[in-house]
Assembly symmetry: C2
Homo-oligomer: 217 residues x 2
């Protein structure tokens, strides 16, 4: 029996709330109806115990008994092994889910992160650097669009690959980056319309809001 603890920050500023990556893990845990507890580490100066679990000083990480796992992709593959609601158990289904987990992070988020960070930070958009970033994302979306127009979920039934892909695309959509990609937009809407997403997002926002009260802010 799994004994799961998800660790995230004790508090973050208002802007990233609803986007911190513990949401991907909460969402998977809610989809699978796996029991878990949530633990916190300081958002302020990171402690040695934090780096021992997450060498880059980020969140989340998950412990399952004496296993400690960082990287949301690795955590979601681990949870996929615990529940058929997160990953099919046959070899083809597992393989397809795994390749789309990597595709979400390495083919799409690799292109979308520089794009969303440039938007967030208000970098100039009249430069060759911005054109490269924008073209890179558009190329990926151009190829993803027919895939998502032809299927409901990436690897057959809903899986951890859809949690990752839709979370990656959701942020692009929030910056109006999916206007020319109707199938990608419909996919995001389909995914985030699931009750487990709503629960995960509400729980993350409540977690950080509770810290506001504790701080008296």
């Amino acid at each position: 029996m799994a004994n799961l603890t998800l660790t995230t920050f004790d508090w973050v500023p208002a802007k990233p709330r609803g986007y911190v990556r513990d949401l991907r893990v909460r969402w998977a845990l809610e989809e699978a109806a796996l029991p878990y507890r949530v633990a916190s580490v300081p958002f302020g100066p990171r402690e040695a115990a934090h780096f021992a679990h997450q060498p880059f000083g980020q969140v989340p990480w998950l412990t399952d008994g004496d296993l400690s796992i960082f990287e949301s992709g690795a955590i979601l593959l681990h949870l996929g092994e615990l529940s058929p609601r997160l990953m099919p158990s046959d070899p083809h289904g597992r393989s397809d889910t795994t390749e789309w987990v990597f595709a979400a992070l390495n083919s799409v988020e690799m292109a979308s992160l520089p794009w969303t960070m440039s938007k967030l930070m208000g970098h100039a958009t009249d430069t060759p650097a911005w054109k490269f970033v924008d073209d890179f994302l558009k190329l990926r979306l151009k190829h993803l669009e027919p895939v998502l127009a032809a299927r409901e979920w990436l690897a057959g039934p809903f899986s951890v690959a859809d949690i990752l892909m839709s979370d990656v695309l959701r942020i692009v959509d929030d910056y109006d980056g999916l206007a020319a990609s109707p199938a990608c937009r419909a996919y995001v809407a389909r995914a985030i319309g699931r009750p487990a997403f709503a629960k995960a997002r509400a729980d993350q926002i409540a977690h950080f809001a509770a810290a506001d009260k504790a701080r008296g802010s």
Copy 2:
């Protein structure tokens, strides 16, 4: 018994030779001494059969019997299941290898790819956009440095995680991006000093050079 075919481009220009990502797969196959054949698809206009295996029109992909897998991370995890030379078979070793596979791609390459592409394309370095890209990579290297100073390989014995992490860092090193990261540099030297890397790199270069001759160029 695995029946492995690696597919890459039939030809690429001189500059990316030695860096095309089929190298990661060749390297793993050579480390494990797994038999495989190499197939080619046109570098020119991509055909429907190409997108059926790799929806983004990239390479490589691997077939193992009737399984077809794209994304070098997913391919290397699959090969890890086939050989203890690529991934320990105990649960802790598998979990540690998997998290470092994701860390190589999502914590390090997510930061290094914008950096190396900016270098390659000669983007301006007096902009906030460049400072963001450069600071992002430096932060990741700062945290990776003590990890690599304290261990020979990421997950215990040499594994697919080291193939990915060292291939990611090798390109940064080629642009003098590891000058302040001696443990990262020593790790890259250690990894690419392995005979299987040399064989994989030579085979990739010979594969594309053979296409030059066929083209009469």
